[in-house]
């Protein structure tokens, strides 16, 4: 009987591998008139607490468009989720699995991990599918002439770092006052966390502040030593570049070592509810960048409740609608949908290929009126892109945690392109050389 069980198992294993080979031929998909949206998410593992709300927001918006508008100008949205677990190789597998689905293939990918973004960037040149990184990804990919398919919409980490430096500079009463000051960067030890370093060093040269680099190893629950060093060095400011459980841990350790939270500034991925709530009262006074206003209910959220949640279609809990990361997902989905709309004007109201959608992404023009129409008033700033500039104008604000909710500080901060642009150039050049890439001529494509 034991043997019998074994041979069964063998059979199962073989069947499994056999099945594995047969699947994946995209031909098998339903060929309806639909636009296919791949969804790379992580709802498990060390980063699930942040991955879940973003994924919910993203998926919910797609559902909303279908339920409220009957799709994008009549073209229904089809979508499929794939769990990356924030791991690069898994992300690549998901990408390969989803890129061919739907009648016209994937619309655009949101890798939701800088590591995965790096891997997908190489493939985008072959597959001609846009890689959308709303507020993450590689900073130099703003340059559309080299990175033909990356769209770091809303701003890159260089923008973010630049904004933070400006902000604390003004706090001190002018950037020149930063001379001799000490700024510590506590960062997630991954491509994501390392991105801002280049700019911070650049700025350090300009203003003469000392930059302290304190990497925190994945997943970031072990930070005692890091914060002891901070206690020893007593930096004037701490910039936090964390993700997942690392954020809350940092704030807790800051409490434990008595570092004033008021002097801590997080990137926009270190400023969500799951980051501060676990630290409880201790998080009071902690600041973080934000590009959409944080929580609260706008028109889009009301619609969401009406069309999706009241029908029991919601992905998450009703009360989580409007949380920072949820909104982040919402916005990401919205931008993609808008790009499709834009592209439909040029190519007609039919399912579009990734390449066609790219045109939409390169010609986004979402002004305040459009934002109002979308019900995002107060939740985002205008976005306009071109073939050369794939990011649009980067601007954000600072929010502060008052112990219960995020309070947005007045004043919008703009990244200083006079510093960033040249860095992007040189970095993009380097990449193009390394990869032996041909350069795009935007002028010609336009004409």
């Amino acid at each position: 009987m034991k043997l019998n069980m074994q041979s069964k198992l063998l059979a199962a294993a073989l069947a499994a591998s056999a099945a594995a080979v047969t699947l994946g031929s995209p031909a098998a998909q339903a060929q309806a008139k639909e636009q296919f949206f791949p969804v790379l998410s992580y709802r498990t593992g060390a980063y699930a607490p942040n991955g879940i709300p973003f994924a919910n927001g993203y998926v919910d918006y797609l559902k909303l468009v279908n339920a409220r508008d009957g799709g994008i100008n009549g073209i229904k949205i089809a979508f499929e989720e794939c769990e990356t677990g924030y791991a690069t190789d898994r992300g690549v597998e998901c990408y390969e699995r989803l890129k061919g689905k739907g009648p016209t293939g994937a619309t655009a990918f949101h890798p939701l991990s800088t590591g995965i973004t790096f891997a997908l960037t190489d493939k985008s040149f072959v597959d001609k599918i846009p890689i959308i990184t709303t507020g993450y990804g590689r900073a130099d990919s703003v340059d559309g002439t080299v990175f033909g398919w990356n769209f770091p919409l809303g701003g890159t980490y260089w923008d973010a770092a630049d904004m933070l430096v400006q902000y604390v500079g003004n706090k001190e009463g002018g950037l020149d006052k930063l001379k001799g000051k000490k700024i510590a960067l506590v960062y997630h030890d991954s491509p994501y966390g390392k991105e801002p370093i280049a700019l911070l060093q650049e700025r350090a040269k300009m203003h003469g502040y000392e930059l302290l680099l304190l990497p925190v190893t994945h997943p970031g629950v072990e930070q005692k030593a890091t914060w002891l060093q901070i206690r020893q060095q007593r930096p004037d400011y701490v910039f936090l570049w964390g993700w997942g459980v690392m954020n809350s841990t940092s704030i807790k350790e800051a409490v434990a070592t008595g570092y004033p939270r008021e002097k801590m500034y997080g990137v926009w991925w270190s400023g969500a509810e799951p980051d501060v709530v676990p630290a409880g009262e201790g998080a009071k006074g902690y600041n973080a960048l934000v590009f959409f206003a944080p929580a609260g209910m706008g028109q889009v959220h009301k619609d969401m409740v009406k069309y999706v949640y009241d029908k029991g279609q919601g992905s998450g809990k009703k009360e989580e609608i409007g949380e920072v990361l949820y909104n982040r997902g919402l916005g990401a989905a919205m931008l993609t949908v808008e790009a499709v709309k834009r592209a439909q004007i040029k190519y007609g109201k039919k399912p579009l290929t990734g390449e066609q959608v790219r045109w939409g992404f390169e010609n986004l023009a979402i002004d305040d009126a459009a934002i109002k129409k979308l019900g995002f008033t107060g939740y985002m700033t205008p976005v306009s892109t071109t073939c050369v500039n794939h990011a649009g104008e980067a601007q954000a604000r600072i929010q502060t945690w008052d112990g219960k909710k995020w309070v947005v500080q007045p004043g919008v901060i703009h990244a200083d392109n006079s510093i960033i642009k040249p860095m992007i150039r040189s970095s993009a050049e380097k990449y193009a050389a390394e990869k032996k890439l041909p350069k795009r001529d935007c002028a010609k494509e336009a004409g």
């Binding site: 709802r43 680099l213 990497p215 629950v221 072990e222 002891l228 060093q229 434990a256």
Partner: protein
């Protein structure tokens, strides 16, 4: 005739390294003490997890890779149950769950594999680890959860007169340390004094012999795994209340491996001392040695505490394979 000098040299090297920051004035004494305390705090927790390892290894000869997963699992259980019931009750229920778990593991994993070579058992516990990670997240969810022990998190200054700038400590750490120490002591007593403890030791020395003199092997195993489960629970609660209960707890617990190597697999004392050594060692290394290395080799940041423990254990293995307090074994032909 036993060669002591390598151990001695390694030991002295460590001590010198420990003293250096103070001697060279690289750090103000007050801060030095803080680092030391920080190290000890971490160390106590390492000891706790390591204790679980040692217990199980002693009694069942199993190198339980799943100890970390058990920490996570129990912590998740407490956190989620505490949402529906008072904490103390939640903890009791969690304990019950851990006992059931122990029984299941003994039944489904250990018993069929009895008298397999240790490496096979190690791999089996790897399997258990994966299962628990998945199962735990399925049952309890994979979000961050809170365990509120109701201890003030704000730090307090002490000894301002003794050291300039005083020493920063927080209550939480102390409570943690005290609880851990208490647990450790009681376990040590349990081992030395109670009859079950003696039975455990007998089993550890020789399974067949133990059985032949009528010690119920399987029950002993269940007991040990339960105890290990409870130890994991305590570690999980303490850790969880510090860091929030979350998937990545399991990974912190990996640190217990170098600890048991250092202390010797079979030794309770070893687990404790080893834990403290590792804890202090890695924090010291990170805070004082790290920056030096970064400057010297133009590294992209320190973070040496991630491997320090393991490399230390490795060096130690080379000079004294049986660990600080473990027994030596001889091959027979």
């Amino acid at each position: 005739m036993k060669k002591h000098w390598p151990v001695v040299t390694l030991g002295t090297a460590l001590l010198i390294g420990l003293a250096l920051p103070l001697a060279t004035g690289a750090s103000p004494p007050g801060f030095y003490v803080e680092v030391l305390l920080g190290g000890l705090m971490a160390g106590v927790l390492y000891s706790l997890v390591a204790l679980g390892f040692a217990l199980i290894f002693k009694a069942s000869g199993v190198f339980n890779f799943a100890q970390g997963a058990m920490v996570l699992f129990s912590a998740l259980a407490v956190a989620r149950l505490a949402e529906r019931m008072p904490l103390w009750l939640a903890i009791l229920c969690a304990m019950a769950i851990m006992v059931v778990l122990a029984w299941l593991i003994e039944r489904l994993v250990l018993r069929p594999l009895v008298n397999q070579e240790p490496v096979a058992l190690l791999m089996a516990t790897l399997g258990v680890t994966y299962f628990l990670d998945g199962f735990g997240q399925t049952v309890w969810g994979s979000d961050i959860y809170e365990i509120e022990l109701g201890i003030a998190k704000e730090p307090v200054m002490i000894l301002e007169r003794v050291f300039r700038g005083g020493i920063l400590v927080n209550k939480e750490d102390y409570v943690a340390a005290i609880v851990a120490t208490a647990l450790v002591v009681s376990l040590a007593l349990f081992f030395q004094k109670t009859s079950t403890g003696r039975a455990l030791r007998a089993v550890a020395d020789d399974h067949q012999a133990a059985q032949s003199i009528g010690i119920p092997l399987h029950r002993i195993w269940v007991i040990v795994w339960s105890v290990a489960g409870v130890v994991a629970l305590v570690a999980g609660v303490i850790w969880g209340s510090k860091l929030g209960v979350q998937f990545s707890l399991a990974q912190v617990a990996l640190k217990a491996l170098p600890v048991v190597i250092l202390g010797g697999f079979t030794s309770v004392t070893g687990a404790i001392v080893g834990g403290l050594i590792i804890g202090v060692g890695e924090k010291m290394a990170e805070v004082f040695l790290g920056p030096v290395l970064v400057k010297a080799f133009d590294l992209a940041g320190g973070g040496i505490e991630n491997w320090f423990a393991y490399v230390l254990a490795l060096l130690f293995l080379l000079v004294r394979p049986e660990g600080l307090f473990g027994e030596k074994y001889i091959d027979r032909v």
